[in-house]
């Protein structure tokens, strides 16, 4: 299974393209309103882009805006199943009836469809829910049934739009494990802003901000060496972006962060400087010493982070011990200095 | 805010008092009873509309300060209203049946007098598209005939005509009133209808009337009487006299009513 997507939707200021390879699950990460759901709607056939092309396994589903002729395959003929945040189980059918809906719509007889439904309910560990109505299911149970329903129709591609977002934190892990199992051999796109979803379910990540793709790569790469602010944020890393200047990166505002590059870079190349919060020390006054990077910030909040405290400022974070915070008598609003050694800063091109 | 509401309420109150208290223009309010004017209310069958309206004007001309108002409707509707206590001074019915009902309820003063009679005529749309020539043609199912229902006076007359002549009229509809029958003929929906002679005249160019001899045997007589509860007994009696007198009879015969 392979998917090529490119879509421009002017009304929503979205212009995105990416591919999905055989059997792989791609996570689309991004902040709210970035346009992630828009892309899914285009692939599912629920939204027509101004310009766009969607090709699934060599079959053209969408080709609009480029030339005189246009192709637009209706949603029911695409073999693409969509799972949304809300399960949207049909209220007038039982769980089994819901799961059997896809097969029956494709013409399977009642008995055959029931057998398929039972199999998939088993796959999602929801066999005992078969005879219940959606109103008698909890959020997590309903979402399981919805996954079974989407897969029972044997789609070529499965789209998941923040499937865990409406669930209890306690229930999400079990569902995530189940998804990991059923998505293993299957092509899927999962839209999320949750790090765990990306880590556990996806092999590749596409990062979208303000309607544009800002970063693409394997999950490991993106989360270890993010190139976009959003990826950095969910990976819990500090990121400063700008142009290469000497041994560091100069931001548009003129701030220079020095670091170590492990690939050759040239002055003027776009690049990012990345460092962990745990590498950052907090001082009240700029120290005189070896560290090359002394960054003046204002504390915006303090939050517990494991057995340490995460000191947040507008763009950067530092992890320090509880004792240090007490000694410095830090409170939000304080003007402090973040200090980090150049050897702890990784510089790489974007 | 309170003061404003009070001011608006005061203005509204004064305005409504002024509207009630001031006397209306006597000429346009039909039932206004200003102290110098008397109203005579006449309940008359619908078929008497044009003739009685004219007679009403004559009566007003002869009697200063008197206004005649009419209620034209189906005779049995009129009787129902009178039975429910509607105030009226004179009742002119399209048949004896309804007058009998009124008498039975003691609504009538004295004995009613016949003032006109009416016979039936075949009415066809202008141009007579179905080529109807006599009563026998109405038995032809190809001819769409419309009559009054037997429960109303003109329908009862039609039944009598059928019985007397032995013709079984194939009606496609039995209407509630003569007006409805006429409407269907005028618009061409029906090929023929049975209505009163007076109605044919009233419909003018849009229809043609066809006389049939069997109609002479079925005559509808119209009785008129003043009403017992009338507050204008004298005026009521005078109106009845007008109808029965030369002036009234001329107006009626001009409209093709026959003498009683």
């Amino acid at each position: 299974m392979s998917l090529e997507v490119s879509a421009t939707v002017r009304e929503r200021d979205v212009d995105i393209s990416f591919t999905v390879g055989d059997g792989e699950t791609v996570a689309i990460l991004g902040p709210n309103g970035a346009g992630k759901s828009t892309v899914l709607s285009v692939v599912a056939g629920l939204l027509r882009p101004d310009v766009g092309r969607v090709v699934l396994d060599g079959r053209v589903l969408v080709d609009v805006g480029r030339s005189r002729s246009s192709t637009w395959i209706a949603p029911h003929a695409r073999e693409v199943a969509l799972l949304a945040q809300e399960p949207l189980l049909f209220p007038h059918l039982t769980a089994a009836g819901n799961v059997a809906f896809g097969p029956r719509s494709r013409g399977q007889g009642r008995r055959a469809a029931t057998a398929v439904a039972e199999r998939w309910l088993g796959e999602v560990d929801a066999t005992e829910l078969a005879g219940r109505r959606p109103s008698a299911l909890s959020g997590g149970q309903a979402q399981r049934v919805a996954v079974a329903r989407a897969l029972a129709g044997d789609p070529r591609l499965l789209l998941l739009d923040e499937p865990m977002a409406a669930l209890d934190v306690a229930v999400a892990p079990a569902l995530r494990q189940m998804l990991r199992r059923v998505l293993a051999e299957r092509a899927a796109i999962i839209v999320t802003h949750d790090l765990l979803d990306a880590l556990l379910l996806a092999s590749r990540v596409v990062v979208v901000e303000s309607g544009r793709v800002v970063e693409v790569g394997t999950t490991r790469d993106v989360l270890a060496r993010p190139r976009s602010a959003f990826a950095a944020r969910i990976a819990g890393l500090n990121l400063v972006s700008g142009l290469v200047a000497g041994r560091g990166v100069r931001t548009p505002a003129g701030l220079v962060v020095e670091g170590m590059a492990d690939v050759p870079v040239h002055d003027g190349d776009p690049a990012v400087a990345m460092f962990r919060p745990s590498s950052v020390a907090v001082y009240r006054e700029p120290p005189v010493g070896s560290p090359r990077n002394v960054l003046a910030v204002t504390v915006t909040e303090l939050e517990p982070h494991g057995d340490q405290v995460r000191v947040r400022s507008e763009h950067l974070t530092a992890d320090v011990t509880v004792q240090a915070v007490a000694d410095l008598a830090l409170v939000p609003g304080d003007e402090v200095v973040f200090v980090v050694k150049a050897s702890e800063v990784a510089v790489y091109p974007t | 805010m309170r003061k404003r509401l009070a001011a608006i309420a005061a203005v509204a109150l004064i305005a409504s008092l002024a509207a009630c208290g001031g006397s209306d223009d006597p000429s346009d309010d039909a039932s206004a009873g200003s102290p110098d004017e008397t109203t005579l209310t006449v309940y008359a069958a619908a078929s008497l509309k044009s003739t009685f309206t004219e007679l009403g004007k004559d009566f007003e001309a002869d009697h200063d300060g008197v206004k005649v108002t009419f209620n034209f409707a189906g005779s049995s509707d009129l009787v129902s209203q009178l039975q429910s206590g509607a105030p009226a001074d004179v009742f002119a019915s399209a048949d004896q049946n309804n007058m009998d009902k009124a008498i039975a309820d003691k609504l009538v003063e004295g004995a009613p007098v016949f003032f006109a009679s009416n016979t039936l005529q075949i009415v066809v749309p202008a141009g007579n598209p179905a080529g109807v020539r006599n009563l026998g043609d109405l038995a032809d199912p190809e001819v769409k005939t419309v009559v009054c229902a037997p429960e109303v006076p003109c329908g009862a007359a039609a039944v009598k005509v059928e019985d007397a002549s032995g013709v079984d009229i194939q009606a496609v509809s039995e209407e509630q009133s003569v007006t409805d029958v006429l409407n269907k003929v005028v618009t061409g929906e029906a090929d023929a209808g049975l209505v009163y002679v007076t109605d044919v005249l009233a419909a003018g160019d849009k229809v043609e009337g066809i006389y049939f001899p069997e109609s002479d045997g079925v005559v509808n007589s119209y009785p008129i009487a003043p009403l017992a509860d009338s507050k204008e007994a004298d005026l009521a009696a005078q109106f009845v006299e007008l109808v029965l007198g030369d002036v009234g009879q001329k107006v009626l015969t001009d409209a093709r009513f026959a003498r009683p």
Binding site: A44, G45, L46, A74, P75, H76, R78, E79, V80, A81, L82, A84, L88, F90, P91, H92, F101, G102, S105, R106, R133, R149, A150, G153, P155 | G74, S76, S80, K144, V146, A149, E151, V152, A171, V172, S173, E174, E175, Q176, D180, K184, T187, G188, E189
Partner: protein, 264 residues
């Protein structure tokens, strides 16, 4: 769980106008029932003309309800689920029979389907005559009853939204399958109540029927027409038949409510 302190949470004074309104509707029915000559009741309502009228009313009203569903469901769907220029105007026109006096509706139908009407002329030439037939009765009733179904169903469709339909189409269901298996089952309560309203309206229809279809026993004289005619000669029969009409209407509405309550 503790019971709430006050029953419904409604302010006490609300019950006064509510009771007044209820009385206003119920008292005339009671007054009618007291006027009925019960010793004659059965004879009056089982006479030939009464049975013909009742049978005709039930048959035509049922046919009308079916026609309203067949025409009204698509209309409601187009109005609720699409948007195009002039849709507001179209909606107002479709709902016009609600406010039009029925006699005016009958006249309009006559000018369309009557012998010399817009379409009637061509139909007449082909040998199809509609006026004075039972078909005309059904047409007159449909004209006045259709807006009830369209209005009721359009409201339900808008409330239901189209998310379920979107999901169904991604699961592989063609538009007709979606309509049949998802849309209609979801709005069934609205459809049923709309159909009941249409039936009731058709049952009571008078003005348009009289003007367009005429009045002939067994063919076009429905129960309301029979009642109006009986008033001329036999007031007792008219009252008795009126009561029959009320009972039929109450039974139909009651049945529809029971059915709806039974759905899970």
């Amino acid at each position: 769980m503790p019971r709430p302190a006050s029953g419904s949470g409604l302010p006490g004074w609300v019950f006064v106008p509510a009771a007044a309104g209820a009385l206003f509707v119920v008292l005339p029915l009671v007054a009618m029932a007291t006027r009925v000559d019960w010793s004659q009741f059965v004879t009056l309502v089982t006479s030939d003309s009464s049975r013909a009228a009742l049978g005709l009313s039930l048959r035509t009203s049922l046919a009308t309800t079916v026609l309203c569903v067949v025409l009204g469901v698509p209309m409601a769907m187009v109005l609720a689920r699409t948007s195009f220029r002039g849709q507001g105007v179209l909606r107002s026109l479709v709902l016009l029979p609600l406010v039009l006096p029925p006699v005016v509706g009958g006249i309009a139908l006559l000018y369309t389907f009557g012998r010399h009407g817009l379409l009637g002329h061509s139909l007449d030439v082909l040998g199809v005559q509609i006026a004075f037939s039972t078909t005309a009765v059904v047409m007159a009733q449909t004209f006045v009853a259709l807006p009830f179904l369209v209005l009721s169903l359009e409201g339900s469709l808008r409330t239901a939204g189209s998310r379920y339909e979107q999901v169904a189409s991604t699961l592989g269901a063609r538009p007709t399958t979606v309509l049949r298996r998802v849309t209609l089952p979801l709005v069934l309560p609205g459809l049923v109540s709309g159909a009941v309203l249409s039936f009731a309206r058709a049952l009571g229809e008078f003005g348009a029927t009289l003007t367009f279809a005429g009045s002939l026993e067994g063919v076009t004289r429905t129960l309301p027409l029979e009642i109006y005619l009986q008033r001329e000669s036999d007031a007792d029969a008219a009252v008795a038949l009126s009561l029959v009409l009320v009972i039929v209407a109450v039974v139909v509405i009651g049945l529809a409510r029971v059915r709806r309550g039974g759905l899970a």
